[in-house]
Amino acid sequence: MKIQVIKQRTLWWTVSTAIIVVGFLSMLISWQQFGSPLRPSLDFVGGTRLQLELACAATDTCEGPIDPSTVRQILAEQGLEGSSIQVVGDQQQALSVRTSTLATDEREALIQSLSDELGAFDPNLIQIDTVGPTLGRQIFTSGLLALGASFLGIMVYISLRFQTDFAAFAILALVHDVLVTMGVFSLLGLLFNVEVDSLFIVALLTIVGFSVNDTVVIYDRVRETIQANPTHHINDIVDEAVNQTLTRSINTTATTLLPLIGIFLFGGDTLKFFALALIVGFMAGVYSSVFVASSLLAFWRERTGFAYVSTLPEAEPADSSP
């Protein structure tokens, strides 16, 4: 198998652009609907979420599934009409309620009146999340800061080990991966009410760390091929480098995705969408490394008149392998 990276670059670029444009549109619609590009979870907007499971569910002695309208009525009595209520669990005997931020006493009162009406809850299966709105902003800004800092660090490192244009396109590929993942989750938010939490920011940062790896491996090969064949055109060099590393790109992505797919399909709820974000991001990452970063680099060098290494003003830095 041989991929025509350079010849079909318009195709590769169109695919990427199309996905990103759809993502942007989705983020725009999201912005109008809930004031943020992705559907934000409690982590970012603040509030209280209670997850409760009836104690009788374990012994299968419940009278029946929980009726959401009863729950809605109890919430209304407490002045919490705008809350979202979800009846969950295999037997519909667990409850997930999301309200505005509740103080301790308000929360206790709510749990008390819920259990008065529905039956006792299992204390070992309870989950309470209360997040103040300021904390969400803190998570968000620190995440953004970490993203910016890692971009900068990666840029400096690649500039040192390779060259500045290598670094610029590597960062561009990373921005591509982040945008694709955000776009996909924005769509998921619109279509399936998938929310992004602070783990999503972790996922984005992981995608950056992992995807740059793919790009660097290909760059490493480009650098090596340039040194071996300094008279070849950059297009041929990139084509050759991408194809030589292709099996590795595919195998590595496949082996990394296997555990993630396992977690996505069978793992606990907390990690499900974290795993999905990584799956999407890693696939975007390998795509951008193979098709986008490499072809853009070749395109740039051709355009700026450095298609042949001998015309470069300075020599390539020496390969510092041991």
Partner: protein
């Protein structure tokens, strides 16, 4: 050969010490895995304390820690984060209400003397407040948010009016040596107080000053009047000596206990609010860890199978060094006392992906060299040699991202960055040392020195190639 043998010995020693460490040291699980409550508290500035200095935050931390210890939660952790926040971890607590109540109150207790000339006013203001309180209880649970807010405002005004009738004294909760809950009259509970020496003297002075005057002594908690006992005229000479007092203020057993606990552990220098509460029930955490670990492990075992099927003999060796990798990484986690959270486990699983990648890079390179007609031994050597710069650059860039995450991220992000970084560092070692030495050792066994074990479908001339080691 001697060098290979010593590296093999080193790997063996490391693996054995890793097993010893894993058997003897407990793995620290995060609250999301073992169940418990995590609270984030924020210290608030007040008119008196316009800025939260590190010393102030430290003072808040030590009071919070004392209160937590008094609650009897084992292995609790109280850490300061950032400029004005505290992180409180309470393993095993699935009903955080008591902890929240105990931590949330400032518990600034002080004793005040009623001003002269306000004798008639106090009972009136007191009655106004009682009525407001009763009305508020009636309103509770109703949906009339506005009425509740109005009542709350009226109550605050009333509290201020009452506080205006008293003069502050030097006697505060800091001069207590003990506080305990005790049953009072009927079903009501009281909080018994014992003063230290100075507190005892001041209490005697204060009681002497109001005894028999018709004015009362005000006991205030967080600027709110708890009770206003009057002092009998017979104490006018000496005051109440002995350094003991009790407060009754309509406490139930729970309320009296909570207050006594707060008083014992001291007042918070500034008020705190609970910014975040994350509570996970014990079995919920366990279910979630088990499901995710099983899912991750089954994915990983597929990876191991894939490696053997695709890369054959080197794949088998890679699998072996991956096992050593997992062992070493986990041992480092326990030695460094890394707390394993769900994102931490995700970071670990990912780092296994990175470790596999290093092997994939090397073996792909080895195959290329074999296809180019090199001998087996030279192909393996140059596979490692040539893949090194890719592995180094790839891992360093990932480490850069980890460092950014670790220093700029918050709680969850930090744990993830740490496990990933440890994983990446260890994977460099196992891929470059362990896999390499094992592979070279295997090559010294003549019956295994067959190119087909390394790369299928080689052109016939190459498959005859023999190692020349």
């Amino acid at each position: 050969m001697a060098r290979q043998r010593s590296i093999l010995m080193l790997v063996l020693v490391l693996a054995i010490s890793a097993i010893v460490a894993l058997v003897n040291l407990p793995v620290r699980l995060g609250l999301d895995l073992q169940g418990g409550t995590q609270l984030t508290l924020q210290a608030q500035t007040t008119a008196a304390v316009p800025e939260i200095t590190p010393e102030k935050l430290e003072a808040v931390r030590s009071v919070v820690e004392r209160r937590i210890n008094a609650l009897g939660v084992s292995e609790s952790v109280v850490q300061t984060i950032g400029r004005d926040q505290l992180l409180v971890q309470l393993p095993g607590v699935s009903d955080p209400a008591q902890a929240e109540r105990v931590l949330g109150g400032t518990a600034q207790l002080d004793f005040r003397a009623q001003r002269a000339g306000t004798e008639a006013q106090l009972p009136i203001e007191f009655r106004v407040r009682q009525e407001l309180l009763i009305e508020q209880i009636q309103l509770e649970g109703s949906a009339d948010v506005e009425a509740i807010a109005q009542k709350q405002a009226a109550l605050e005004r009333s509290n201020e009016a009452i506080a205006g009738l008293f003069d502050k004294t030097e006697l505060t909760g800091e001069k207590l040596s003990n506080a305990y809950a005790a049953p009072g009259t009927g079903s009501a509970w009281e909080v018994g107080l014992e003063f230290n020496t100075q507190g005892g003297v001041e209490f005697a002075q204060l009681t002497a000053s109001v005894a028999g005057t018709g004015r009362s002594l005000g006991i205030f908690l967080d600027d709110e009047l708890l009770s206003a006992p009057s002092v009998d005229v017979r104490y006018a000479e000496t005051g109440i000596t002995g350094g003991r007092a009790s407060i009754s203020g309509g406490f139930g057993a729970e309320g009296a206990n909570d207050l006594a606990l707060q008083l014992r552990s001291g007042a918070l220098p500034v008020p705190v609010v609970i910014l975040e509460n994350r509570t996970v029930g014990a079995t919920l955490g366990r279910d979630s860890i088990q499901r995710s670990i099983y899912a991750g492990l089954s994915g990983l075992s597929l990876v191991l199978v894939f490696m053997v099927l695709y890369y054959r003999l080197p794949g088998l060796i890679a699998d072996f060094s991956l096992l050593i990798y997992a062992l070493l990484t986990f041992a480092i986690f326990t030695l460094l006392e890394v707390t394993l959270t769900l994102p931490g486990i995700a970071g670990f699983i990912l780092s296994i992906g990175m470790a596999v990648d290093a092997n994939v890079l090397i073996f792909e390179r080895t195959r290329e060299e074999l296809r180019a007609g090199k001998t087996l031994y030279r192909s393996v050597e140059s596979g490692f040699y040539r893949a090194f710069s890719s592995i180094l650059d790839g891992n360093v860039t990932t480490l850069i991202a980890c460092i950014a995450l670790y220093f700029l991220g918050t709680g969850l992000v930090k744990g993830f960055a740490l496990t990933l970084a440890i994983g990446v560092a260890v994977s460099m070692f196992t891929a470059l040392t362990c896999s390499r030495t094992l592979l070279l050792t295997v090559l010294s066994v003549p019956s295994l020195r067959k190119s087909e074990y390394f790369c299928p479908n080689l052109p016939p001339s190459n498959s005859q190639a023999k190692a020349t080691s």
